[in-house]
């Protein structure tokens, strides 16, 4: 059976089809239709159908990633939404966490809540942190609120009551009443959307869910109908932010889980590719035109975060958006890409970004009206990009325009020659990306010094060597068709659903019976969701608890078995936690008390391996793929040197070569610096081994 992956991106809607019998990959692209995203999906499917009749009707699965939720939230196109909360707490959404976007200014505000204060209603009830009921739910106060909801023609309601993560009974009672009194309303409960402590984050996430729910329901209905008309008999699955796939019904119930739908594809693809090399740590690095995404995959596990935000006021500034804290793959979003603009800042120093020329007007060398120097302009001047073979020759790059932009805006004010200024841009953007990766890893732990860096995206392979040397990453893997390879992630995503619930109790005082009934309830909840998407029954349950030292707030996830919690003897669990802690931070404490912060349940089918077609082994050497040589800038030498230039499609398995070298293919260019050796594996991936640390230091700029 074929599998179709379909990802709606900002500019393009990408399709990838994997032929179940031959392993052949087909890639298709159409322009995204922001006003009616379904249109692009359908026209893309038609093009696939034209290229390969029967593609749609014959597909077993269509896996879909969409930016619908994030766009609707940013553009405020969601439903008229109300919040129902505990009396005395309706302003949590407004007060947020009392933080400004930037300590050193007061002019930038975070996004306003998704609806005015008048639609935030309070009811009489109160749960306590310890699970006791301080005040039973007063149904009259709910009835009163329903009257207001109807009067104001509210379409969707978020219910987020204090401590509802601990005990959802009051929220459920509210839902029951809403169902009786106003059955046409969409209702989202915080205890279902995000059963986690912290009233602002939980309410915000629930409100985002409610806000987009009617819209997502409509969109999915349109899509399902259109697919049925095209005789699609397979399973339509949605890619969730957590990197798993889920049924349409799940997406309808929890649309907030689609915020980063599709974004995790790169990390999934990197994991599958990296596993081909047997690496335990894989640094996925996807550099595009405006931003880059990186992700550190350890032991086959995608890192997860509970800190996702949408509609950030300031680039990637944490805390400047609307929290949508459902489980998500922990991606490092880095505001640098090929189109990032370089300028001289107030310090008289070079700075890359945060402004980007994007695809339009684009870098100066595109000759589409851009005049500001960008990373791509620098890469062109340094000889890395072939002006006549950009996008396979679709676009001719203008060296003179790049030269002018960098000369005028950077080289002259810095008093440098243009080439050196271009090198400054190239090296600094690598340094900036390395900074972002280091900070991210410092927060979450891990060791990039043992990782394989999987590079893709339009600009990834060009910057991977420089980035890896700065991070002391020893090895690169660059897949075939690296420019579009992130979409491969759609084909290897598992069907999965994650539930996290706050607990907050010292490990020693956790009641095994209580833990068991909670974990069982969570597993049952996940089971219901899974059955909608996957009836194979192959899904595996994994359970874990987040543990920290008492007082710390960031838990480490410690897997537990699927037997009774009581069998996880407290001492063993504490010991395992200390091991994980030591592994993560390099040290641990014997004298601190472990505390459980949250329980996690994940139901997941096995993630797919990439069944890439094996290329025929050939006796050929890399020389047969060599197009020639050209001068390109060598950082360590501070001058132009001759680079061998290879034609990627002609490189065959088993061939090896050394840097300095450039490898060209249609959508991307791989640059390999001095001292590195490259080899091609049986799938056509290029593996680059960088000089070891001591030597790398000397080779580094």
């Amino acid at each position: 059976m074929d599998v179709i992956g379909c990802d709606i991106g900002g500019t393009f809607t990408d399709f990838v089809v994997l032929d179940g019998s031959t392993g052949e990959l087909i890639v298709e692209k159409v322009l995204t239709t922001p006003d009616d995203p379904a249109q692009a999906v359908l026209s893309g499917l038609e093009r696939l159908e034209a290229r390969r009749p029967g593609s749609v009707a014959g597909a077993g699965r269509l896996i879909h990633g969409t930016t619908l939720v994030v766009n609707a939230t940013i553009e405020r196109k969601g439903a008229r939404t109300a919040l129902i909360t505990t009396r005395g707490f309706r302003d949590a959404l407004e007060m947020r966490r009392q933080k400004r976007v930037d300590f050193y200014e007061y002019r930038t505000d975070p996004p306003a809540p998704l609806g005015p204060r008048q639609y935030r209603y309070e009811i009489d009830e109160r749960m306590l942190a310890n699970g006791r009921v301080l005040l039973p739910l007063d149904e009259r106060s709910v009835r009163h609120v329903v009257g207001e909801l109807l009067k104001h023609e509210i379409q969707s309601v978020a219910v987020s009551l204090l401590h509802a993560y601990r005990d959802p009974r009051h929220e459920r009672a509210v839902k029951r009443l809403l169902g009786q009194l106003a059955p046409e309303l969409f209702v989202s409960l915080s205890s279902e959307v995000l059963p986690e402590v912290r009233e602002f984050e939980r309410a915000s996430t629930t409100v985002v869910n409610a806000y987009v729910q009617p819209l997502v329901a409509r969109y999915l209905a349109v899509l399902e109908r259109a697919l049925a008309e095209r005789d699609f008999g397979g399973n339509l699955l949605l890619m969730l932010s957590a990197g798993g796939m889920a049924a349409v019904s799940t997406a309808r119930a929890f649309p907030v889980r689609l915020v980063e739908s599709g974004s995790a594809a790169g990390a999934l693809a990197a994991r599958a590719l990296g596993e081909l090399t047997g690496a335990r740590e894989i640094l996925s690095f996807d550099m595009g035109g405006t931003t880059s995404k990186a992700c550190l995959v350890r032991d086959g596990l995608l890192p997860m975060t509970d800190e996702l935000e949408v509609a950030r006021a300031s680039g990637h500034a944490r805390g400047s958006g609307l929290p949508a804290s459902v489980p998500s793959v922990d991606l490092m979003e880095i505001g640098s890409g090929g189109g990032s603009i370089a300028k001289i800042n107030a310090m008289g120093l070079l700075q890359i970004g945060p402004e980007s020329a994007g695809a339009s007007p684009g870098p100066a060398c595109y000759r589409r009206g851009g005049s500001q120097p960008t990373v791509t302009d620098a890469d062109l001047l340094l000889g890395y990009l072939n002006p006549d073979y950009f996008l396979g020759g679709e676009l001719t790059l203008d060296r003179d325009a790049a030269n002018r932009a960098i000369g005028e805006h950077l080289a002259r004010p810095l008093g440098l020659d243009t080439t050196l200024a271009a090198w400054g841009v190239h090296d600094l953007v690598n340094e900036q990306m390395a900074s972002a990766v280091r900070a991210h890893v410092a927060e979450r732990g891990g060791d990039v010094g043992r990782a394989v860096l999987v590079a893709f995206g339009g600009a990834g392979p060009l910057h991977a060597d420089g980035l890896a040397r700065k991070l002391r990453v020893p090895r690169l893997l660059v897949p075939l068709r690296a420019g579009v390879a992130p979409t491969l992630g759609f084909l290897v995503a598992p069907v999965a659903f994650d539930i996290v619930r706050s607990v907050k109790i010292p490990l020693a005082s956790a009641d095994p019976a209580e833990m068991d009934s909670m974990l069982e309830a969570m597993a049952a909840e996940a089971e219901v969701v899974m059955r909608e998407a996957d009836r194979s029954g192959d899904a595996e349950l994994s359970r874990a608890v987040d543990i920290c030292f008492l007082g710390q707030g960031f838990g480490l996830t410690v897997p537990i078995g699927n037997g009774p919690f009581g069998l996880e003897r407290e001492a063993d669990l504490a010991k395992r936690f200390v091991e994980v802690y030591r592994e993560r931070y390099g040290y641990a404490y014997a004298d601190q008390v472990p505390e459980i912060l949250a329980a996690r349940v994940r139901l997941s089918t096995r993630h797919g391996s990439l069944h890439l077609p094996r290329l025929p082994a050939a006796e050929a050497s890399a020389l047969d793929a060599r197009k020639g040589r050209r001068l390109a800038f060598s950082g360590p030498d501070r001058c132009f040197v001759e680079f061998d230039v290879y034609d990627r499609p002609r490189l065959t398995p088993g061939s090896t070569f050394v840097g300095p070298a450039i490898v060209e293919e249609r959508e991307s260019t791989l640059v390999i610096g001095r001292g590195a050796t490259a080899s091609v594996d049986g799938y056509g991936n290029i593996l680059v081994d960088l000089p070891s640390s001591g030597r790398a230091a000397r080779e580094r700029v």
């Binding site: 009392q98 204090l162 008093g415 390395a434 927060e443 040290y587």
Partner: protein, 586 residues
Amino acid sequence: MMIGPNDLKANDGTMPDPLTIDAVWERVRSIATEMGATLMRTSFSTSARLNGDYTCAVFDDRGRMLAQVVQAGAAHLGGMLTIVPAFFERYPRETLQPGDAFVTNDPWLGAGHTPDIYVLTPVFRHARLIGLAGSCIHHVDVGGRRSAADSCEVYEEGLIIPPLRLYRAGVPNEDVLSFIRANVRLPEIVVGDLRAQIASNHVGATRLVELLEDYQLDDLVAVGDDIIKRTAHALREAIRGLDPGTYRNEACIDRFGDASVDSAPIRIAISVEVTESKLIVDLTGSSPRADGPINVVLNATRAYLLHGIKLATNTPVPNNVGIMDVFELRVPAGSLFNATFPAPVYWRMQPALHLPETLLRALEPAIPDGSISGSSPHWFTVIHGAWPDGRRFASWPHWAGGMGARPDRDGRMACFPADIADLPCETLEHEASVIVERRELIPDSGGPGRYRGGCGQRIVIRPLPAELGGSSDPLLATVIGARIDEPSPGIRGGGPAARGGIYVNGQRLPASRAQQLLSAEDTLTLEMGGGGGYGPVLERDPAAVREDVVNGLVSAEAALRDYGVVIDPATLSLDVFETERARRGR
């Protein structure tokens, strides 16, 4: 003398080229960021983790601070700028060895009060000192009187740790650690946080060594010289955006004592001289040393004023010693803003948080796109107590009043000038044996104007009763409020905000602070004032007033009284005709 970018690249052979500086500078800042990330993840207290009340910095071997993590407690910067040279006086460079780490919380060396504990780690490469990594956390407890709201001398404000070796050549100094443990109420958390600081510094040290290797540098001095010069230059350029002249402002802020006894309001008199190359800030004429613990050491005064300068110039200039070249501070020794030992300083934030605003207010005529009106800053609330099982807690929920209105829009709620996150009520209820009954905005608390000040907030809190799992012992709540005697002023014709107040069982206390035992039946209510308005009220769009009424931020009565806008209280519709009439009469 003006320095243009071309002068900055002048290369006399000792200076690395500009590209190296670009990249090294990026790396140095990245190291500070990575230190901060490490500290956050490994710290034990909500103070560092949720409130972000910490900072990390990187120094060269001369002790000059080169870079600081972006996230920072406002006052910590002041200590970081001067602490290392002072530290070198006690521990000359040649006495340091690899694996050493030092600790101090001396208010006069650091950030001005005992909870701020600094840890400094000298960094070596090839047995040569190449720099230092430093961090500071506002610790949850340092012993002494609980909350020290009545202290008369710094001795009452907890343990004073002079610069001491916390690690010697990689071995922890158990003597010092035991001494600290024995003197604080929450030794696990305090020691846990100290370890987080060590871990953070360790990351900084490792990365500094890698940096020198990667860029083949012997030390950071040349790059430091250049960065410092550029920073001073950038700040000078930013100051040039202000019209030269001398600007003055005087502000009255809440007295520290009870209004019933004879205590004077606190006066901040500021003069800001803007010259071509410098800002000279003079606080002569401000209040003398206070009897209570609100005296501010010079380091902290400098830090809060620097925050004001950066807000006023609105130019991103990094924090490093370069800014000291452009900013001169004059404060008479022994006065409120230049406290001398052994003045009590524990709650120095209360007056200090008014410094950025007082400076902005003075400079307001010189700022081309206008400034912010008065804000109701952070209150400092600490809840001490113990759970029935004996576990003690000391929670700092960090609530704040409304922010002033701005030249182009209303003030926000609860976030100026400090930028310290609150503790969520749910987290507070897990941490401390309390029930938060309400946390809500107070209608009509924002000052009226063309743009309205942000509303203040009301907190109602009471002990969790023993029968519901709480403690049967009373809690001690310490509250250091603000804008209770003196409301947030408006500017450019905007009106002042509503005052705040502290209430125990509904009774308003006659002071802007409280140290209160709360028993089972007691209720503590904190009402924090709003921000001041900006511009004449009659210039506010009646539709905006109506929206505020609909959203419950302004009452229909206040709409008429403050704005001359007539809203039908039943239908909440705007009466255009009556509004015009009401406004004509003003």
